[in-house]
């Protein structure tokens, strides 16, 4: 039997840490994954009737008797439609920029990828800004077509439209990589055998993209099913907003709202589990792997038919306009003063930075003709107490959760790799992947209900009470992000050559030193990327924020949502829309910076960094030399 040589003699001092770590892991897993969800599940079957008798099937009966199925049907309808529209748009943008020879493809690609930095609640409110009844585009359209319904952008259509363009980020990333991985020789071979370009596309190219498309379809379906911000803000009765509504309701208002919310979240969980199981099964069957040893780079295909070529170009640029218009408008309007924003008119003379920095007073005349001044009611993102508070809270909570996720995952993956092929390694991995099976809303809802009383498990504390909710938010953020972090960090650990560890040990390094000085520096870029991507996602996260929304847990997303509420009423909150635009610009800058750091700076290895440092030094040396000469 192979055994690795260990130091002999006495109790291994690291054993204490190992036992402590195991106990802590089990405590956290049970307390923040199993028990709250179990509580939600049992709450469905522990409802009591008016006489106080246990009636386990009450919610189920209520479900079929009341309007609850309509929420499920609405969510399913959205998910199904979204799968179609997102795939049509997603496949289109990838083919137009990567497969077909479309003029200006680089610019088009940038436009299509704006959803990577402009998403979530910021995107939904941005679309609202343009398309709702007072939106700029709606106003233009009404001027063109006076009979048009001003309220066209609400309900299902608005949600579908918004989410279609918001959910193509995965296509832009993963389908693009898949199409770039195609061996061009296969295309040439098909052409050589007489296949026409579109035949090649459908018979050679598309089949190789099917596995990726299947994964994207499942993920889009789940996104549609669990949609939160768009239905909430645009008014569509789907499952998630209803769960949040009922979570905040009481028995005085309606029949057992919590149990009904629990049932809805369990239905969502069932759908998710079935879909992810199907996805997992499909992925295990394997992908179409290129058998080519010398892969040729894909060459863009020119559309020979002039009519189709014009149609393709027109389609590409219309999509570009749909993607870019909200972004451009939001940026432009963030520099306009509030009267210009109200009038939805762009004017250089109305240029201002007030939506970002500083405060202004608002002077107005009352109905009795008196002149009044409201001090500081026009304020910038970084001068408005509410907004700054939201940013600060989201920043701290997101950073804490992202860091905690990384720490847990790095330690866990190191453990998993040490115990590869053993049951305990697999068990730790399964525990960390567990939240993947559960919809975010189920986890958050479960937390909210389970911890909204003095719970023995957390030393009799109510974690939903006052400031404690912030701890709950951090835990929810962390748990939800664990599966993604695990997959990314695990992939990074695979890159560590086993011989590196052997080499370090041979040179006298202990296991801890080997981990800290050899393994961690190798995976650090990936860990930092996971931290940055998680932070980015959580900073403007809406779903969880809405579930935990309270005066002590008002995150940035909730602040953005509330910015236009009661805008200007009684002279308060005059530039809410302007601040919202400025917030979106701020979010885009933060996201853009993070993506640059992750994929730009973070992707460089030591050699590239040293090379750049050398060039910088040479540049400054030349610069200094010239200056000295001039002097």
């Amino acid at each position: 039997m192979q055994r690795t040589v260990r130091r002999k003699g006495g109790l291994d001092p690291s054993m204490i840490y190992k036992v402590f770590g195991a106990v802590l892991f089990i405590y956290l897993f049970l307390g923040f994954m199993v028990l709250p969800c179990l509580n939600t599940l049992t709450s469905i079957f522990t409802t009591r009737d008016a006489a106080g008798n246990l009636d386990p099937m009450a919610v189920i009966r209520f479900f079929f008797a009341g309007n609850m199925p309509s929420f499920v049907i609405n969510s399913l309808k959205l998910a199904v439609c979204l799968v179609i529209t997102v795939n049509v748009v997603g496949i289109s943008i990838v083919l137009l920029t990567e497969y077909f020879d479309i003029k200006g493809a680089k610019i088009l690609r940038l436009g299509y990828m704006t959803t990577l930095i402009y998403s979530g609640v910021a995107l939904v409110t941005g679309y609202q800004f343009l398309y709702d009844s007072n939106g700029m585009l709606t106003q233009w359209l009404v001027r063109l077509f006076p009979a048009m319904n001003r309220q066209w952008f609400s309900g299902f259509n608005a949600v579908l439209f918004t989410m279609t363009f918001a959910c193509t980020s995965n296509h832009a990333l993963f389908l693009r990589n898949a199409i770039r991985g195609i061996d061009y020789n296969t295309v040439e071979a098909a052409r050589n055998m007489g296949a026409k370009p579109f035949k090649v596309l459908f018979k050679v190219v598309m089949p190789t993209l099917l596995p990726t498309l299947f994964s994207l379809t499942v993920m889009t379906f789940i996104t549609g099913l669990c949609a939160m911000s768009a239905p909430t803000l645009l008014g569509y009765n789907s499952i998630n907003p209803e769960i949040v509504r009922m979570a905040g309701s009481s028995v005085a208002d309606e029949a057992f709202p919590q149990a009904r919310a629990a049932l809805l979240s369990m239905i969502l969980a069932l759908f998710t589990i079935v879909l992810l199981t199907a996805l997992n099964h499909y992925e295990r069957k394997g992908h179409y792997l290129s058998v080519s040893k010398t892969k040729a780079k894909l060459v863009k295909q020119k559309i020979q038919n002039p009519v189709w070529n014009v149609v393709a170009h027109a389609y590409a640029y219309i999509l570009f306009l749909i993607y870019m218009t909200p972004v451009v408008m939001i940026v432009l309007f963030s520099f306009q003063n509030w009267p210009a924003i109200r009038a939805k008119s762009l004017n250089v003379s109305d240029w201002t930075l007030i939506n970002f920095f500083g405060t202004q007073d608002y002077s107005y005349t009352t109905s009795r003709g008196k002149q009044r001044i409201r001090e500081g009611v026009i304020s910038g993102v970084f001068s408005n107490a509410d907004t700054v508070g939201g940013i600060r809270l989201s920043f701290v909570l997101s950073a804490l959760a992202a860091a905690l996720t990384c720490v847990i995952v790095v330690i866990a993956v190191n453990y998993i790799f040490k115990h590869r092929g053993k049951k305990r390694g697999g068990l730790v991995e399964a525990c960390l992947l567990f939240p993947w099976l559960l919809p975010t809303i189920l986890i958050c809802y479960s937390y909210r209900i389970f911890f909204n009383s003095d719970v023995w498990y957390v030393l009799g504390k109510n974690l939903y009470y006052r400031e404690n909710v912030r701890f709950l938010i951090v835990m929810a953020y962390t748990v939800v992000k664990l599966p993604f972090a695990l997959r990314m960090v695990k992939a990074a650990f695979y890159a560590i050559d086993d011989e590196l560890e052997d080499a370090a040990r041979n040179l006298g390094a202990s296991q801890l030193v080997t981990f800290l000085r050899v393994k961690l520096p190798i995976v650090l870029p990936s860990v930092l990327a996971v931290f940055a991507l998680n932070f980015n996602a959580l900073f403007t996260e809406y779903d969880m924020s809405a579930t935990f929304h309270s005066s002590y847990g008002k995150s940035y997303a909730m602040v953005i949502q509330s910015m236009t509420a009661e805008e200007g009423r009684d002279g308060y909150n005059m530039n809410g829309s302007g601040r919202r635009c400025a917030s979106t610009v701020f979010i885009m800058l933060v996201s853009g910076l993070i993506l640059y750091l992750v994929y730009g700076v973070g992707a460089r290895d030591l050699g590239e960094r040293l090379e750049r440092r050398k060039k910088r030094r040479e540049f400054f040396a030349r610069l200094t030399g010239r200056k000295q000469k001039t002097a």
Partner: protein, 330 residues
């Protein structure tokens, strides 16, 4: 220097090494040679301490080190992948072991620059990341890192296998030169018989967890102890009935002859057995030509030096001669 006594290693129920006995002498270049999965790397990892045997002992300079932790064995290793730390510069890679030993900074500096000079690494290269070096330079760094801690022996696990053919030959010579200069006992693992023959003072030929033969390159090549060794090192012709009977060899054994020992179109020597044959095909290698000749009821492979004059065409009739003393019988 290093002695393995009755080493047995098991992976689960599978016995990977069966009673391995090796004695490597001081300053010797000793090679473990064999095909994949024969146990050569397992033996090396047992010496270095990554694997603990279930039976037998490992001793170094007379001291039993079977249960001594890896880092206490004072054995340098050059890994197959070189295992250079990608997040460190060349200098930091070389200094890693010295830093772990907590040597004073000045001493680390001195030792690193000494070893860098010996393995021909410049100051500029020391400041580079390992990814900025060529394969050959990376190998030098790996050797420097293994040697800088002044180990008693150095173990190399197929360090040339990642390089292209030309560089492999070049570095093979450098490796031997360095080993001679440092005078360090070296244990080398390879599956490449040419590498083993050119580098080694002695070779242990492994097969299925056993050592088939230990000997000098000349011994294992010209006096192969077993059929496996004869077959694994170099190329051989199994002799069929025609040759066996013609040479008067005993029929209860297998008989082989190396390709270069078969004589084509030469004057018949005393005791030589000669038959007529026909060239079936040929392979041109530049320095030599390999012929496939139909003779004595079998196809026999022959290597002839390419002198540019005596080149036979398929269909040519030739004489094929074999000396009985060149036949290896098992």
């Amino acid at each position: 220097m290093i002695q393995l006594k009755d080493i047995v290693v098991k992976f689960g129920d599978f016995e990977a090494l069966h009673n391995i006995n090796v004695h490597v002498k001081e300053g010797e270049f000793f090679t473990f040679l064999g095909p994949s999965g024969c146990g050569k790397t397992t033996t090396l990892r047992t010496i270095t301490g990554f694997i603990e045997p279930v039976g037998g002992s490992v001793s170094m300079q007379g001291e039993d080190i079977t249960h001594v932790p890896i880092e206490k064995r004072n054995i340098g290793i050059v890994f197959q992948s070189y295992a250079l730390f990608p997040t460190m510069t060349v200098k930091d890679n070389i200094a890693f072991g010295l830093k772990i030993k907590k040597l004073p900074k000045a001493e680390i500096e001195r030792k690193v620059s000494d070893i860098a000079r010996k393995v021909d690494l410049s100051d500029e290269q020391l400041a580079k990341a390992v990814s900025q070096l060529s394969g050959g330079q990376q190998q030098r760094v790996a050797i420097a890192r293994a040697l800088v801690t002044e180990p008693a022996i150095i173990c190399m696990d197929e360090p040339l296998s990642n390089l292209d053919a030309k560089l492999r030959v070049q570095l093979r010579n450098e490796l031997k030169k360095m080993q001679r200069e440092f005078g360090i006992t070296t244990i080398y693992v390879t599956h490449d018989q040419e590498e083993a023959l050119t580098l080694s003072d002695r070779i242990a030929v492994f097969n299925k967890g056993y050592i088939e033969q230990i000997g000098t390159p000349n011994e294992v090549y010209n006096h192969s102890a077993t059929e496996f060794v004869a077959n694994f090192i170099g190329d051989i012709n199994p002799l069929g009935e025609g040759f066996v009977n013609g040479l008067g060899l005993p029929g209860d054994k297998h008989h082989f002859i190396r390709l270069e020992r078969v004589r084509v179109n030469r004057e018949k020597d005393a005791g030589e057995y000669q038959v007529k044959g026909v060239i079936q095909s040929r392979e041109y290698y530049g320095l030599y030509i390999k012929y496939y000749i139909d003779a004595a009821g079998q196809t026999i492979k022959v290597i002839e030096k390419n002198d540019g004059i005596n080149i036979y065409e398929p269909g040519d009739s030739v004489s094929v001669g074999i000396h009985p003393q060149d036949v290896m019988s098992y």
